[in-house]
Subunit: 640 residues, 2 copies
């Protein structure tokens, strides 16, 4: 039975990419959904290979590549399709992300024409690759990688080598079995000079699946989840590849054997190369959001039907979602899932602008990187915490494999770590916030940031340009009135969240200046600001996310759906502020009476939204076949 | 290399039950540890059967039963042995807990002489049983179970029946395969009168493993974790068992076919029967604590060795645990793990007193139940959150099955739900706190608690008896001084934590009185206090736990270990207070300047404790063989 409010909400959520979402919704659930029972590692990997082959028949892999490279330049659609796979078997999402996002992305964005010739085979899934960046000894610290790629002018070859066990490439998706080529990140050494980390294509196994000479491959074996992905390890013993295998867009070896780069600063070059690869991060965030929405859809439907304990003096049993503790557990997370979905949609649009060249400045690129890092961190933590809460909210049923929460939980758990550890990412965001990112490219180390904080605090520059005009208009239209609680209007909510961010950035800058002026050990001094740095980044992204939600409400056509969305945005704003209640009290931004009233209002909003909870999760638009669970068919059969 | 400080710390933690702990530490790790690779459901179940048989050869199963029933009455030792199994394969813990704690416990504590005759076979593991309480439709609400046990005087039998699909027994450990007898909880109907939930022994399968006539058995199939346990479902179609199969200690049918009970009130009878079974809850809490300690030991060792990023102007890479964010993630949890371990030890001693008859009053029993419920809730949430944090702290390595965090996470996840959903348990604790628990036994429903809150708030009775004398002495010896921050002394810490509990209890009572006086819908009115109820219980248990830690420090002999323990207790106390910073500010118990100083002090304590972090986790006394992981052998082999 169609519910126009659900349809409207779904249209808002789908946004400008409703078409690709609908196409994904029509994928065969029996092939793409979580396997009907847990498979052993080999069977699961085989299934994912079949899924990948099927996906290669769709238009989305080509969407991730420019037309001149054999693609269709539908960047946003291609990332949105990956997001939708977050509702399906997440192993496929990772497998597809590795093949087209990371491996294909490296070839496309770091390579030159001669490498782009490979892309049709990569897009078609006939040439399978892996992305060999992380080493056992170095993950987040990519600049610290040990693997070397040494140019040998005598043979015009590059020698790829693991100089120590710690140079072993680790956790590499596709390396254990399927990939025939690796995009290997290594220190590029030309004429005894280290030019920093570059990427080289290295064949790792032949068509029969045998490792190439000098390549030692091993299997990471079973994992907590994502067992459909063949993560493996690679060690290189002086493996020789042609010089032209260097993906040389940002740094190449010319025919005379000399290193050439269009970017003079090694630091800047490194960050430019890494920055080219943000799509993976954006896709992971998107898929995490989808997985969290799946979990919320399951838990809200269960809580909407399952009863527990009779009402006083009555035989009528109470539905779980009528209990305040349940509402508190689930509804603020539903609100957050909307907020993050809107923020993700904006991020994908910004990515599309950059990749298509519509937004071409360095500033556009840097903003996109910071935004992508921050939203990935908040989105993946949201997923981990939300899925956990949903599992607990479904009690014993939530623990049964047949009810899907178990696999959602296990599969997404690593999202907080891969494509950048969240804590490290937030520190990058904070550094970006502190000012003119570009100027530090020459020396972006921990001391650099300190000097940098010093420069900043003496002068100006809280970066405000990210503050959207619409949010500012809402705030301006809402003059503070001393006689009303300061959180009932959207403008007041936005102002509170923004004030926190601004204060954190300003005080961080001041602390860093003090640190740089003192004679303390530079590391110790910096380290003592680390929690401040992380909190600042979080506050920044929370503001960005709330603004995205507020903007979506503002632009929605009037009607019942908008009223609901508006209330949901209130809940999101107020539960964000409530989470930082101690901060608002400590900094005298809210009085105790107001923070108490705030909590009361959050409770009230949960009560008001409860009757629409089911609609809110129906509007996610997750195909019914992908949400089929034993617990709900048990319900239909009268087992509860 | 022996470290006397580690030995001393371990002795404090082991407490009075060091001997049984050491015996468990010597169990064969290759049999009892997590399987070296994930097994499929059948293989894992078979392994757990072998483990159970081996465990039956140890003295601990018999310890759980009185001498006159064929046991050795070493109650505390038997529960401590289960706790130690929390370091091993957790499927065995659950399997053993079902066999001896729940099934054996029901026979021992709810049965009479004729049932006790079975105990030697149960203790020896030759008669395997299951504990069939939960139904698909009713879990936490045991009084709402649908299964009936109807006395048929014509044949002197009891007819056990599932009157509806929702009466299906669900998630029952042992039911899918191994158990031959079920302790079935059902509404006992004698002469058309329902006497409430009682427990009846029902044979469910014969020696050949075939279901008994009228019994339908099915398998819950794969789960997120604990796949060594054969959870199953049971449906009964008019299954007849002799009248004497009723476990009749608290309610029996006499030879004349009349129902008799030593307890007149049905409500009180029900809670007495349930109260007899708290051992399971205590064991789950203990094992959760052990699992969290395993995870912390793994993560702290990793963080103590693994480096990431070089220091400014240096090649020296920084160890993870030197970063503030890492210290913040792990060290307060190490402190909490100590606090909870001391609280658990006290709880086990109190249980021993009750079960052995040394503490025999109804008040002793009720206090024990409340304490067990509350500590189970906090301990299992501590485990879920801590293991998650440890997984993230170990990055990609934490996700690999070979590094154990994956299985710890998956196996313990359900602990927050089984043996009582944590949220429901905390509400029970809060109700207990509100006063004289006994008097409400006649009508302990949601309305009862409201009436009850009314009575309380008009009169007296914040239950203070649980406040230990020693804590009071510490507080008394610490007069508040206006010129010093109010959190540096143990007495001030205890006072802050106690004040919060007291305020929450008092205001809860007042709210409940108002509610009972208003004419609002009773359920709605009560429901609006539900979050307050849960928070009150949490505050109460947090106080109990901190007092247990403080008492352990007080009683420890002077020396380096005590100094360390004292500092760790500071960290635990202050991070507990910090978590509720907003509350202290809202209620004007601390000024903003002081809460800021508090956070600074928590950071400082983390720094001070960091050099001893490894010692603190070594002192858990987890056998090296049970902590063997690929990541640490990789480290030894130079891979990082």
């Amino acid at each position: 039975m169609a519910d126009p409010v659900v349809d409207d909400l779904r249209a808002f959520l789908d946004g400008s990419r409703a078409e690709v979402r609908d196409e994904c919704r029509n994928l065969e659930p029996e092939l793409f959904g979580t396997p009907p029972e847990p498979l052993d590692v080999d069977a699961h990997r085989a299934r994912v290979r079949r899924q990948l082959a099927r996906l290669a028949e769709t238009p989305w892999p080509a969407g991730g590549f420019p037309v001149e490279q054999g693609g269709t330049a539908r960047f946003a659609d291609s990332v949105t399709a990956l997001e939708m796979l977050g509702h399906a078997d997440l192993s496929l999402l990772v497998k597809a992300g590795v093949q087209w996002g990371l491996f294909g992305g490296a070839v496309s964005l770091l390579g030159t024409d001669r490498h782009h010739a490979l892309l049709p085979e990569i897009i078609a899934g006939r040439l399978l690759g892996c992305f060999a960046m992380t080493e056992t000894g170095h993950g987040s610290d990519v600049q610290g990688l040990l693997t070397t790629a040494t140019f040998d002018p005598a043979t015009d070859e590059i020698v790829v080598h693991s100089p120590a066990p710690a140079a072993r490439k680790d956790y590499i998706g596709g390396a254990a079995h399927d990939a025939t080529v690796a995009a290997v990140f290594a220190q590029l050494i030309v004429d005894d000079e280290n030019h920093g980390v570059h990427c080289v294509l290295v064949p790792i196994r032949d068509a029969a699946g045998r490792p190439e000479p000098g390549v030692t491959v091993s299997d990471c074996g079973p994992k907590l989840g994502l067992n459909g992905v063949d993560n493996g390890r690679l060690l290189f013993d002086h493996v020789r590849v042609p010089r032209t295998n260097l993906l040389g867009r940002y740094g190449d070896i010319d025919d005379d054997g000399r290193y050439r780069s269009p970017i003079a600063s090694p630091g800047r070059r490194f960050f430019t190369m890494l920055g080219a690869l943000i799509r993976g991060r954006i896709s992971v965030g998107g898929a995490a959001g989808a997985a969290a929405r799946s979990a919320l859809a399951l838990a809200v439907r269960y809580g909407d039907e399952r009863t527990q304990f009779a009402k006083p003096n009555s035989d009528e049993e109470v539905r779980l979602l009528d209990y305040r503790t349940y509402q508190r557990r689930l509804l603020p997370r539903v609100a957050e899932s909307y907020a993050l979905a809107f923020a993700q949609s904006e991020l994908v649009s910004a990515m599309d602008d950059v990749l298509s060249g519509r937004a071409a400045t360095e500033q556009d690129q840097r903003q996109l990187e910071a935004r992508a890092a921050g939203i990935k961190a908040l989105m993946t933590w949201h997923a981990t915490e939300t899925i956990q809460e949903c599992r607990e909210a479904c009690g014993g049923a939530g623990y049964m494999w047949a009810n899907r929460l178990a696999s959602l939980k296990a599969d997404t758990d690593i999202f907080t770590t891969f494509e950048g550890d969240n804590t490290v990412l937030l520190q990058l965001v904070a550094k970006g916030l502190l000012g003119d990112y570009q100027e530090t490219f020459g020396d972006l180390d921990t001391l650099g940031i300190i000097r940098f904080g010093a420069r900043l605090a003496t002068g100006t520059v809280l970066e405000r340009s990210a503050m959207r005009g619409l949010a500012q208009k809402i705030i301006d239209a809402t003059p503070g009135r001393p006689d009303e609680p300061p959180f009932t209007t959207r403008g007041a909510q936005l102002r509170l969240v923004r004030e926190r961010e601004e204060h954190l950035v300003e005080t961080l800058a001041i602390r860093l200046r003090r640190v740089s002026e003192s004679h303390a050990d530079a590391f110790d001094a910096f380290n003592r600001c680390q929690d401040h740095l992380v909190e600042t980044a979080r506050a920044h992204i929370e503001r960005v996310v709330l603004e995205a939600f507020a903007a979506a409400v503002e632009t929605a056509p009037a009607g019942e759906a908008r009223v609901l969305l508006d209330r949901l945005c209130d809940l999101h704003a107020l539960s964000t502020i409530e989470r930082h209640k101690a901060w608002y009290l400590e900094h005298d931004r809210m009085s105790p009476a107001r923070t108490k009233a705030l909590t009361a209002r959050v409770n009230e909003l949960c009560e008001q939204l409860r009757p629409d909870a089911r609609r809110l999760v129906d509007a996610y638009g997750i195909p019914a076949a992908w949400l089929t669970t034993e617990m709900m068919s048990d319900h239909a059969a009268g087992y509860w």
